[in-house]
C-alpha cells in the first residue's frame, strides 16, 4: 500500500513516497498528491522508500511529471533505488522527462 508524506517550505515541496508504486497507487497519486502540488514552483519526489515500480506506476510517475512541467513547475525525482533505476533506463525516462528530472 502506497503512502505519502509532504513537507513544504514556501514555494518548495518535498514528497516522500513509501511502498510499491503500482495500480493501487493510482488514486493516491492522481487524486490526492497531484492537486496538492500545483501551487508550488519546485517539487521534489523522493523514491527512497519505493522498492518497486511496475509499468502502471511508471505511467503514474510520467503523468505526474508531465502535468507539473506543463504548469511551469520544476520537478525532480530523487533517491531512486538500483532496481527501479534499471527500469527507468530501459524505458529511457530521462529522454522523455528531461535529463535534469532524475537526480541522485
Amino acid at each position: 500500500m502506497l503512502t505519502l508524506s509532504i513537507t513544504d517550505d514556501k514555494n518548495n515541496v518535498k514528497v516522500n513516497l513509501n511502498g510499491d508504486l503500482d495500480i493501487e497507487g493510482t488514486e493516491i497519486v492522481n487524486e490526492e498528491l497531484l492537486p496538492k502540488l500545483i501551487n508550488f514552483s519546485k517539487v521534489n519526489v523522493s523514491l527512497k522508500e519505493v522498492p518497486f515500480v511496475d509499468s502502471t506506476g511508471m505511467g503514474l510517475l510520467i503523468n505526474l511529471v508531465k502535468t507539473l512541467q506543463e504548469k511551469g513547475i520544476v520537478i525532480t525525482i530523487s533517491d531512486v533505488n538500483k532496481d527501479v533505476l534499471e527500469i527507468f533506463d530501459l524505458l529511457q525516462l530521462p529522454e522523455i522527462l528531461g535529463t535534469d528530472v532524475i537526480v541522485s
Binding site: 503500482d22 502502471t56 530501459l90 524505458l91 529511457q92
Partner: protein
C-alpha cells in the same frame, strides 16, 4: 493455466452487475480471440504465444505477421495500465501494428510508424506502450529486433548458455513524437530457443510478496529448452503457477516462444492477410 481472483467491484448483495458482467465477458472473448488467433505453422521451426490477464481482460499484446519476403514479424508488448482501459489501448496497438507491418521494411521502421500513428492518442489518454518487435528470417536464420522500452528476448542455447543480446534502446510508444528505433541482428543456431516476455512474468508474486524474478525464469529456460515448444511453454507456466500458488497477480503474464529446429525453415501457413 492460472486461476485468478477477479478484482472488479461488486453490488451490495455480493453479485456483479449483470449487464457489466456480460459486457466484460464479451470484451474478454473478443480479446482472447484476437490474441489467440491461428499461429503461423513453420517447417522445421515453431512459434507459440500465450497471454494470461491478471484481471478479466488484460493490456498485454503479442502478434505474428508473416511477410511476403518469407520472414515472420513478431511483436510483444505491454500497455501501461490494467483492465478495460488497457485492453482498449491494446486493440489500438494491434491495429497500428497490423497496418505498419504491411508497409514497413523492418522492426525498427514498424515501431517508428506505430509511434507516429498512435502517439497523439496515447498522449491524450496519458498512456504508454512498451513493445519489442522482431523479424525472424528462416532462410538466413537471423533475428532482427528493435525495442520501444521493452525487455529484450532471452536466447537459450542448450542446457548451459543464455545469450545476452546486443542492446538496442528505444523510447516506449507515446513517450516522444517522431522518434526513430534502431535495430540489431543476431544469427541463431539450430535448436536455439528465443523467449520474448512481458514484465508480468518476472514480477509475478507469491502470497508473501516475493517476486518470481529473472533468475527463476532463466533456470527454467535452461532446464527445458531442448523440449518441444508446447512443453517448454507448459514448463514455464507450471513453474510460475507453482511459485505463485494461486496468489492473485497484479500484472498480465505474456510470453512468445520461437524455437529453431534442425534443417531449413519455411513459413507454410498464415494467420494474417497475405501481402
Amino acid at each position: 493455466m492460472f486461476r485468478r481472483d477477479f478484482l472488479y467491484d461488486f453490488m451490495p448483495d455480493g453479485t456483479m452487475d449483470k449487464t457489466l458482467e456480460r459486457e466484460i465477458k464479451l470484451a474478454r472473448n473478443i480479446q482472447m480471440k484476437l490474441l489467440n488467433g491461428k499461429k503461423p505453422e513453420l517447417e522445421k521451426s515453431e512459434v507459440s504465444g500465450i497471454s494470461i490477464p491478471a484481471r478479466l481482460i488484460g493490456g498485454d499484446y503479442y502478434d505474428f505477421y508473416p511477410l511476403s519476403n518469407g520472414k515472420l514479424r513478431i511483436i510483444i508488448g505491454d500497455v501501461m495500465g490494467k483492465g478495460i482501459p488497457a485492453a482498449m489501448l491494446m486493440i489500438l496497438t494491434r491495429g497500428a501494428f497490423r497496418s505498419a507491418a504491411e508497409s514497413t521494411h523492418g522492426p525498427g521502421d514498424t515501431l517508428t510508424a506505430m509511434n507516429k500513428a498512435i502517439y497523439q492518442d496515447l498522449r491524450v489518454l496519458g498512456s504508454f506502450v512498451t513493445l519489442l518487435c522482431a523479424d525472424w528470417d528462416p532462410e538466413k536464420k537471423t533475428l532482427t529486433y528493435a525495442s520501444a522500452g521493452h525487455y529484450l528476448p532471452i536466447i537459450a542455447r542448450g542446457s548451459q548458455n543464455l545469450l545476452e543480446l546486443p542492446k538496442v534502446k528505444g523510447v516506449m510508444l507515446g513517450g516522444l513524437p517522431n522518434t526513430e528505433y534502431m535495430e540489431s541482428t543476431v544469427t541463431l543456431n539450430d535448436e536455439d530457443l528465443v523467449f520474448f516476455y512481458t514484465d508480468g512474468i518476472i514480477e509475478a508474486q507469491n502470497a508473501g510478496g516475493e517476486m518470481y524474478r529473472i533468475d527463476r525464469l532463466n533456470e527454467v529456460l535452461l532446464r527445458n529448452n531442448t523440449l518441444d515448444i508446447n512443453e517448454i511453454e507448459n514448463a514455464i507456466n507450471d513453474s510460475i503457477s507453482k511459485f505463485t500458488n494461486n496468489a492473485p497477480q497484479k500484472d498480465d503474464i505474456t510470453m512468445v516462444l520461437l524455437k529453431v529446429n534442425k534443417g531449413s525453415t519455411n513459413i507454410t501457413s498464415y494467420n494474417s492477410p497475405m501481402l
